[in-house]
Amino acid sequence: MPDTQIQQIVELGYGGNERLMMNMGPQHPSSHGVFRMILALEGETVVGVDAVIGYLHRCHEKLGETLTYVQYPSIASKTDYVAAMTSELAYVSAVERIAKIEVPRRAQYLRVIAAELQRIASHCLWLGTWCLDMGGALGGGATVFLYTIREREMVLDRLEELTGARLLYGFHQVGGTRYDIPAGWDAKVRETVGFIERRIDEYEAMLERNTFFVARTQGVGVISRELAQAVGVSGPLIRGSGVNYDVRRAEPYSSYADFDFVVPVETAGDCYARYRVRMVEFRQSIRIVRQALDGLPAGPISSRPGVKSVGQVRVPKGEGYARVEGARGEVGCYLVSDGGPKPYRMKWRGASFSNLAVLPHIVPGHKVADVVAIMGSVDPVFGEVDR
């Protein structure tokens, strides 16, 4: 039966149930971008989900083949535009791996600071939009959203001072970073993270002591340990399901081995567990930022200073895969080089893409209201899903 017909009829089930096909998205207040879910409902209960992606496809991987190693990092930001720093980092790390380029320690530390600030900003947006999903734009959710946006703004201000941009940075380049920190930035960052640290306490007080919030999240959207591993989710989702896996720990890159931080793990696997994981990550990111600022070594910020023209980065024949722990999970970039100034082939492993694949497994059986709560707890960014 063609798709369009299904959506317009009410199917009468033989079990005395009426099924309603409801189209949620791609334009829907809580589709987090452009995502379409075709829900099969029995009353309020979801019995089936058909997830449709691809509304934001921009041929990113083809685009990567047409741009040089100097040009592409700025475009890499646009895969996961909410956490642009990590995608850039994945791309340049893959190039560095093929070409065996050393990155100066100062640049490694700067990359860590940028990545962790980015994680804070991204989690701020996640918390706000997730609460919007559950509380509505005309309710308590909007209050949390406006609070978190206020804090995200402070982080974006710091990143703007660092790179001149607020959303898509172009901070990383092959061999190091493009910019060094401006004068007085160190103190400002410390002030910002200290402020956010105090605010996180307020969010926790506002949400965890709120019976309704707990009722909406605990036991909802449970991803079992087995399911998490079978589907291949990563980031806060897999850590919320009891698997202690973090790329920063499992395969330290960019001198993450120097820093002392805790990888939070929760075993419940529900929305609340994922929320707890991210709340701890907030604090751990702040810790890492502080340590990196304390131990920031002197020296050059790039092993290839002055690389400006597009043909200057030449990469030998070979292939390489680099992965980093983004705000949403493992972001990987696979590159094949044929020795020219542009990659022969590239492939992204988007964290949101793999995480989103878990939805059809966990949504059926929940109420319509839970669909948006689960969706928000997965925290997808569709730039990264569709690429």
Partner: protein
């Protein structure tokens, strides 16, 4: 020159109706400013600088000149009638509210009963809107509406009956008079519990967060009014806020002593308005602090907690009144 009674009543009704509409318009501004404060924003500002005093008027004008769209597949009759059916009961409840002794459209001897009966009629309009729109979001919302109103009208009525029992009358002015010495909210235990139950049930009856599953804009987009635009949308909005204000007035009457308060008698209506707005602000405060709960949780709260609790409360009140006698404190 004395007016004939019919003309007099018509005049009073006209004045009250317009006053209510004006009040409702400005209550939206109050809520927006209050919410803005909570969220560290400014809220309406530019229209009617410096505090957005003209914003409600601008909104009303904007809604009036918007295109009125009727979906092609809608049930036209039901769809067009629904906003009116929704609005009328919401406005009618103000008929029985006395704003001061003798100042009101009709101080019926069954005022509270009339109020409760009429205010629950709004559900018909809601359901018509959700059904007539021929939209799946609206349909789901209409189903939720019926579920919710049926579940919460009972606790709402039981909570409102506690002061009625204590005062020994269904007439609103008599209930206020009975609170001469002590407002019922200060009545030991019974009054306070009933007030809390009343507030919770009010939230649900008004479809406010955390019980706003009808509107649920993150799930059902805008619920039963997703297809409404222009003036029809404005009517629904007006009805919703009128209902909210009406229940706030009723709460002020039943629990906070209505127009009673220190100062000369002419201050009475202002006391009354102030108390009603206080209740309205409490409801707003709750709205902007909580997340929405799920439909099954809402039903569970009502049937498993609120309904038994209010029943026991009513029974206890009955026992107290039986031993002590009704009328006053």
């Amino acid at each position: 020159m004395a007016l004939p009674p019919v003309a007099w009543h018509a005049l009073v009704a006209f004045v009250v109706l317009n006053a209510v509409v004006l009040l409702v318009t400005y209550v939206t501004l109050l809520e927006r400013k209050f919410a803005a404060r909570m969220q560290s924003r400014i809220g309406p500002y530019y229209v009617g600088r410096p505090h957005g005093w003209l914003q409600p008027i601008a909104d009303a004008l904007k809604l009036m000149i918007k295109e009125d769209i009727v979906p092609a597949a809608a049930d036209r009759g039901v769809y067009n009638l629904a906003p009116v059916v929704f609005l009328v009961p919401c406005m009618l409840i103000f008929a029985t509210i006395p704003f001061a002794p003798g100042l009101g459209v009709a101080d019926l001897n069954i005022g509270v009963l009339f109020f409760l009966a009429v205010s629950s009629l709004e559900i018909v309009g809601l359901f018509m809107g959700g059904w007539g729109s021929n939209n799946k979001y609206a349909l789901l919302s209409a189903m939720r509406a019926v579920n919710q109103i049926i579940s919460y009208d009972l606790p709402f009525v039981f909570a409102a009956l506690v002061p009625v029992l204590l005062a020994g009358s269904l007439q609103m002015s008599a209930i206020v008079d009975a609170q001469q010495g002590l407002a019922f909210v200060f009545y030991p235990v019974l009054g306070q519990l009933a007030f809390v139950a009343y507030l919770v049930a009010t939230l649900a009856a008004e479809n406010r967060v955390p019980f706003d599953i009808l509107e649920a804009e993150s799930e059902l987009v805008a619920g039963f009014r997703v297809e409404y635009s222009g003036m029809k949308f404005a009517l629904i909005q007006l009805g919703e806020y009128a209902h909210m204000l009406g229940t706030s007035f009723l709460g002020a009457l039943l629990f906070l002593g209505g127009w009673l308060g220190p100062g000369p008698a002419w201050l009475g209506p202002f006391w009354f308005l102030g108390k009603a707005l206080l209740i309205f602000l409490i409801v707003t405060w709750v709205r902007w602090s909580f997340v929405r709960i799920r439909v099954d949780q809402i039903l569970a709260i009502s049937w498993k907690l609120l309904l038994p609790a209010t029943l026991v409360l009513l029974l206890a009140t009955g026992l107290v009144v039986a031993t002590r006698g009704a009328g006053g404190v």
